[in-house]
C-alpha cells in the first residue's frame, strides 16, 4: 500500500494551495478530488480577492486579506487584474453607514498600491460609468483585485505536481480508517477506472468546503457548519466599465462586476440544508439581483441573461445573525480533540485567504511530522509568471488575432508561447473553436495534454470554453472532437461528452430562459436534436444530481 505523509481531500482553492505548500516543503502529498479541480465552490465565485472592505468590524481579517492580495499579486500577477468599483449613493442616509469601513480600509491601501476611498461627484461618477442612475448624489470609488479562480486552482495543482505531489481528480473518498486514535488509511473510489483504492496517510486534511461535515462523518466525527447558498446572474456582455456595489432590496451588499466578456451580478444569501450538488438558482434569486441593481443601473435588464450559477458558502456555525455578519475568518479544526489525531478540517474562509490557510495547516502538519523548512508559497511564483509577453509581436508572428492572444495571455501568462509554438507544425490549430471567448484549438490541446481535464466541462474551467453569450452552442461539438483525438475517445463517448456538456450548461441557462435565449435554445435543439439526432443516439447518459430530484 502506498504511504503518503499528507492526503489532502478537496481540489478547490484551499485544497490545491495546501497540496502545493506541503509538496514544496518536501512532504509526500496526495490530493484527492471527487470531481475536477475547482469544480465546486470556488468555481462559482466572482474571483474577487477582497481587501475585506465589508468586514471592517474584523480588523484582523482585513489585515489578512490585504497581505494576501499582495502575495497573490506577487506569485500570480498574470492571472490577477485590478477593477475599480463604484458605490453609488442614491440617498443621504446611505453616506453615514460607511465611515468606520472607510477608516479601516484606508489604513491598508498603501501595501496594495491602490488609492484611499475617493468620493466622487455625480458628474464624475457618470463620467466613469454612464449607465449609473442620473439621480445619484455621489459615489465612493475603490480599487479591488480579482483573480481567475479556475486558473489559480489549476496552477496551484500543477505547481504542487511539479514539486512531487500526486493529484487525483475524479477520486471520491469513501472511508477514513482510524488506528490507535490516529488516521491510518483513506479509501477512495476512482471514478475514471471504477475501482476502490486505499492508501496510507500520516495526516489527512479536509479542505472540502461545504462537504466538510460529510468527510468528518467518515471518520466518525460530527462537525457543524452553516451552509449558505449564493447565486449569480451572468449577462451576455460587459454592461459597465467598472464594478458596482450597492445595497440590495433587503439592505445586504450585492455587486455587479464586468468579468471577461460577461457581467456577473451577485450574490444572494440563503441558508441551505440541501445537497449542494442539487442546488439550482431560483426565480426569486434572479429577480432579487436584477431588482436590486435597477436602483443604481436602470438599464440592467436590457442585457441578456446567459445563465445563473450557484455555490455554497461553508461558514462557521454562527447562528441567529445574518450571513453578512458571520465571521469571514477561517478555522482549522484539529480532530485530535474528537479522538482522531492527524485529521484536520477547514471551516470558513474566503478565496483570498486560501494560501494563508494552506500555510497555517502545513505549519501544523510539519510540526507534527517533525519536518523543518519554512513556507515559500508567497515567494515562489506560480507557473506562467515569467518574463513579459509581447502580444502584438506574437500575434503577427503566429498569425493569430491580437484580441485572442490578449485573452490567452490573461489565462496563461508566458505559457502562451508554448501554445503558439504548437501551431508551427499545425497552422490549422489556430482555429477559434469557441468564438465567444475566444478559445483557440491549440490551447484546448495544450490544456488536455498538461492539465488533466476529463470532460468538456473540465476544459471549460481550464480555457473558458463555452462560457460566453452562445453558452457552448457552437463550440461543443468542435471541442468534443478535439478531445476525442487527444484522449482517444470512441465515437459514442464523443457524443456522450457533447450531451453531458450541454446538460451542464443547461443547468444555468434554464432558470433565466427568456428573450433572445429562446432563439438560442431553438438553435441548440436544431443542431444537436433535429440534425445531430443525439437524443436518439446517446444511450449511456448519466443524469446529473440536480436532474434526478425534479
Amino acid at each position: 500500500m502506498t504511504e503518503f505523509d499528507v492526503i489532502v481531500i478537496g481540489g478547490g482553492s484551499t485544497g490545491t494551495a495546501v497540496a502545493r505548500d506541503c509538496a514544496m516543503r518536501g512532504l509526500k502529498t496526495l490530493l484527492l478530488e471527487r470531481d475536477d479541480i475547482a469544480s465546486a465552490t470556488v468555481g462559482t465565485c466572482a474571483g474577487m480577492i477582497s481587501s475585506g472592505f465589508k468586514y471592517y468590524h474584523e480588523p484582523d481579517i482585513m489585515d489578512l486579506c490585504s497581505h494576501e492580495v499582495v502575495h497573490l499579486k506577487h506569485i500570480a500577477r498574470h492571472i490577477v487584474a485590478k477593477l475599480p468599483i463604484l458605490f453609488p449613493l442614491m440617498d443621504l442616509s446611505e453616506i453615514s453607514s460607511g465611515g468606520k469601513g472607510m477608516e479601516e480600509y484606508e489604513k491598508r491601501v498603501q501595501e496594495r498600491g491602490v488609492p484611499p476611498v475617493l468620493i466622487l461627484t455625480p458628474e464624475a461618477s457618470r463620467e466613469i460609468e454612464p449607465s449609473l442612475h442620473p439621480e445619484l448624489i455621489a459615489s465612493g470609488y475603490v480599487e479591488e483585485f480579482f483573480i481567475d479562480p479556475f486558473r489559480l486552482c489549476v496552477l496551484q495543482a500543477k505547481d504542487a505536481e511539479q514539486h512531487g505531489a500526486t493529484i487525483r481528480t475524479y477520486c471520491e473518498v469513501t472511508a477514513i480508517d482510524i488506528r490507535n486514535g490516529a488516521v491510518h488509511t483513506v479509501t477512495y473510489f476512482n471514478r475514471m477506472t471504477g475501482t476502490l483504492e486505499t492508501v496510507e496517510a500520516k495526516v489527512v486534511i479536509s479542505a472540502t468546503g461545504p462537504w466538510a461535515s460529510e468527510i468528518a462523518r467518515l471518520a466518525g466525527i460530527s462537525l457543524e457548519l452553516r451552509l449558505n447558498k449564493g447565486a449569480h446572474v451572468i449577462l451576455d456582455r460587459r454592461v459597465t466599465n467598472v464594478g458596482i456595489s450597492t445595497r440590495a432590496v433587503d439592505g445586504r451588499w450585492v455587486y455587479l462586476f464586468p468579468h471577461e466578456n460577461t457581467t456577473l451580478i451577485g450574490t444572494t444569501a440563503l441558508d441551505t440544508w440541501d445537497n449542494p450538488d442539487e442546488l439550482v438558482t431560483s426565480q426569486d434569486e434572479i429577480e432579487y439581483l436584477l431588482r436590486s441593481f435597477e436602483f443604481v443601473v436602470p438599464s440592467v435588464r436590457e442585457a441578456r441573461i446567459i445563465r445563473t450559477m450557484e455555490g455554497v458558502r461553508p461558514m462557521a456555525p454562527v447562528w441567529k445573525v445574518p450571513e453578512g455578519e458571520v465571521t469571514r475568518g477561517y478555522e482549522i479544526i484539529d480532530h485530535g480533540q474528537d479522538g482522531v489525531s492527524g485529521f484536520y478540517s477547514f471551516i470558513g474562509g474566503k478565496l483570498v485567504m486560501c494560501r494563508h490557510m494552506a500555510e497555517a495547516v502545513t505549519d501544523i502538519v510539519c510540526e507534527r511530522l517533525g519536518v523543518t523548512g519554512s513556507c515559500e508559497t508567497h515567494i515562489k511564483p506560480l507557473p506562467g509568471m515569467s518574463e513579459e509577453v509581447d502580444v502584438l509581436m506574437l500575434a503577427e508572428k503566429y498569425g493569430v488575432p491580437s484580441h485572442a492572444l490578449e485573452r490567452l495571455k490573461a489565462r496563461r501568462g508566458s505559457e502562451l508561447v508554448e501554445i503558439l509554438e504548437m501551431t508551427r507544425e499545425h497552422p490549422e490549430w489556430t482555429n477559434m473553436v469557441c468564438i465567444c471567448e475566444p478559445v483557440m484549438d491549440a490551447e484546448i490541446r495544450y490544456a488536455i495534454r498538461t492539465e488533466y481535464p476529463q470532460t468538456l466541462n473540465d476544459l471549460r474551467r481550464r480555457v473558458r470554453l463555452g462560457t460566453g453569450p452562445c453558452q457552448a452552442t457552437f463550440c461543443t461539438f468542435k471541442a468534443a472532437s478535439i478531445m476525442a483525438e487527444e484522449l482517444g475517445l470512441t465515437g459514442s463517448q464523443t457524443h456522450s461528452e457533447i450531451v453531458d456538456y450541454l446538460s451542464e450548461r443547461w443547468k444555468g441557462k434554464r432558470p433565466p430562459l427568456r428573450g433572445a435565449a429562446l432563439a438560442q435554445e431553438e438553435i441548440v435543439n436544431g443542431i444537436y436534436a433535429c440534425v445531430g439526432n443525439l437524443e436518439q443516439t446517446v444511450i449511456d447518459y448519466e443524469p446529473k444530481p440536480w436532474e434526478e430530484i425534479r
Partner: protein, 445 residues
C-alpha cells in the same frame, strides 16, 4: 406610399416562400416580405417530413406513415388538417416541391414513401425525406464500399475522425454500412487561409477553377491510396453550381461523393433559400427583404391593411389575403419574456401543444430538466392555434380574421426537433395556405 398586392406573405423562409410561390402560380399578385435571413437558411438543407413520434425510438418506415401517425396521435398537429383536404395530399405536395426545385442548385431527391437515413457530420444518422442532389447517395448501405470521410484542414465544423469512428461503431453494432471506413483532412488553404475557414468560404473557393482542381487533386491522392469508392464531404460543394461540381469530382476521382447533413452556417440551407426565392420570382411573385410588418388594420373580420417598414421607408398594403409565416423564436414569429410567450405581428394568443394558453407561463416551465430529450421541450410545441384552413384563432377560439392564414413554425402543435418534421410542416402548411389564400382572392370557396 402604398403598394397593392392580392396577397402579402409575412416571412420568407420555406413556409412563406412555399405559400408565396403557390399563390403566385395561381395568378395572385403576391408579395413576400422578410425581415432577416430567416431560419430556413440555417437548416441542414434536407427536408424532414416525419421521423419519430415524440418519445419514440424507431423511425417511421415512410414519411407518409409518419404524417398519418402524428396526425392520429396528436389531434392538434398541423398534419391532422391534411386529411380534410384530399386535393392537397402529401404525395402531391412533395412532388410539387420537387418540380419547383428541379434544375436548381438544391434539386431534391427522395419521395413521400421512403424514409432516408441521412448521415450527419457527427457520424450519426437521422430520418429525413428529401435531400439535395449533392447530399444524395444510395450506396451507404453497401457493405463492400470503402467510405472516406474527407474534412478540410482549418474547417473546425467537421472532424472526419469523429464521424468515421461513430459510423464504424454503428456498423460493428450491427447496422448496415460500409465495412471499410477511412478518414482524411484535405489541405487546400482556400484564399491562403490556414484556419478559421467557414463552409461558405469553402463553397466559394470550390467554385473557382483553382479551388476545384486543388480539392480534386487532394481527393485523387487519397482515394488512390485507400481504394475509396464513396466520399462523404462536409456541405461545401458550391452555392451556385453544386451539381456540376459533384459530377466533375466524381468523374475525376472515379468515386461517388455526397455532402453530410451539417449545422449552421449551412451551405445547403443557403442554397435552398436562394432556390426558393428564384422560384418565387419565376412564378411572378415579389420578394422584399429587410421589411418588417409593424402594424395592421382589421375591419369587419378582415385584415385590410398591413404597414411594412424597412430602415428607409414605411408603406401600406391592402391585401385581400395575408399569410403569417414568421417562424418560431429564431425566425422571430414568437417572443417571450419571463412571464410568458407572445406572437409578434398580430399579438395572437400563443398556445402549447395541447392548445392551452401559454401567455402567462414562464418559458422555463415549458422545458425539461435535460437539454435534449426524446419527448422534446413543450416550448417548441408552442405557437398559434389554427382552424382546418390554417386560419389563426383568437382567445375565444374564433378565427382572428377570415383572410389571415398561418404557416410553418409559428403554428402550435408539433415538436420539430424531435419529430424531425420541421421543413415538412413548413412545406405542407405553406402550400395549403398559399392555395387557400389564392382561392380566397379569386373568389373560389
Amino acid at each position: 406610399m402604398d403598394a397593392d398586392y392580392d396577397i402579402v406573405v409575412i416571412g420568407g423562409g420555406l413556409a412563406g416562400l412555399t405559400a408565396g410561390i403557390s399563390a403566385a402560380q395561381m395568378n395572385a399578385n403576391t408579395l413576400v416580405v422578410r425581415k432577416g435571413e430567416g431560419a430556413t437558411s440555417l437548416s441542414s438543407g434536407a427536408l424532414d417530413i416525419a421521423g419519430y413520434l415524440r418519445g419514440g425510438e424507431t423511425p417511421f418506415l415512410t414519411p407518409e406513415e409518419g404524417v398519418a401517425a402524428l396526425a392520429h396521435v396528436y389531434p392538434f398537429h398541423p398534419y391532422s388538417v391534411l386529411e380534410s383536404i384530399p386535393s392537397l395530399g402529401l404525395k402531391e405536395i412533395v412532388s410539387w416541391l420537387k418540380d419547383i426545385l428541379a434544375g436548381s442548385p438544391s434539386a431534391m431527391i427522395g419521395s413521400h414513401d421512403t424514409t432516408t437515413m441521412a448521415l450527419t457530420i457527427l457520424g450519426t444518422k437521422k430520418p429525413t425525406c428529401l435531400v439535395q442532389r449533392t447530399m444524395h447517395t444510395t450506396r451507404l448501405d453497401n457493405t463492400d464500399e470503402t467510405l472516406l470521410f474527407a474534412g478540410i484542414k482549418g474547417l473546425a465544423d467537421f472532424n472526419p475522425s469523429t464521424a468515421s469512428k461513430a459510423l464504424m461503431e454503428s456498423v460493428i453494432a450491427g447496422e448496415t454500412g460500409p465495412h471499410k471506413i477511412v478518414h482524411t483532412l484535405l489541405e487546400c488553404s482556400p484564399f491562403r487561409q490556414p484556419s478559421n475557414i467557414s463552409p461558405v468560404e469553402l463553397a466559394r473557393y470550390i467554385e473557382t477553377e483553382d479551388g476545384l482542381d486543388r480539392i480534386i487533386k487532394e481527393l485523387q491522392h487519397c482515394t488512390e491510396q485507400t481504394g475509396t469508392t464513396l466520399i462523404a464531404l462536409p456541405p461545401i460543394l458550391g452555392l451556385v453550381n453544386p451539381i456540376e461540381i459533384k459530377k466533375r469530382i466524381e468523374e475525376e476521382t472515379g468515386t461517388e461523393i455526397f455532402e453530410l447533413l451539417s449545422f449552421p452556417p449551412s451551405v445547403p440551407g443557403y442554397r435552398l433559400q436562394r432556390s426558393l426565392e428564384a422560384s418565387l420570382k419565376k412564378a411572378g411573385g415579389t420578394l422584399l427583404v429587410g421589411h418588417e410588418a409593424v402594424s395592421f388594420k382589421k375591419q369587419e373580420g378582415k385584415i385590410i391593411d398591413i404597414t411594412l417598414k424597412s430602415p428607409r421607408r414605411t408603406f401600406n398594403t391592402h391585401p385581400k389575403s395575408v399569410i403569417l409565416a414568421t417562424g418560431k423564436f429564431v425566425g422571430g414569429g414568437l417572443a417571450g419574456n419571463r412571464t410568458g410567450l407572445r406572437e409578434t405581428v398580430f399579438d395572437l394568443p400563443v398556445l402549447d401543444g395541447t392548445r392551452q394558453s401559454v401567455q402567462d407561463v414562464r418559458p422555463s416551465h415549458l422545458t425539461r430538466v435535460v437539454p435534449l430529450h426524446k419527448e422534446g421541450h413543450p416550448l417548441f410545441e408552442c405557437g398559434i392555434g389554427f382552424d382546418t384552413r390554417f386560419r389563426p384563432i383568437d382567445v375565444k377560439g374564433d378565427i382572428f380574421a377570415s383572410n389571415l392564414f398561418a404557416a410553418g413554425s409559428v403554428l402550435c402543435g408539433y415538436n420539430y426537433p424531435v419529430e424531425k418534421s420541421g421543413l415538412g410542416v413548413a412545406l405542407v402548411t405553406g402550400r395549403i395556405c398559399g392555395v387557400h389564400a389564392a382561392e380566397n382572392v379569386t373568389g373560389g370557396n
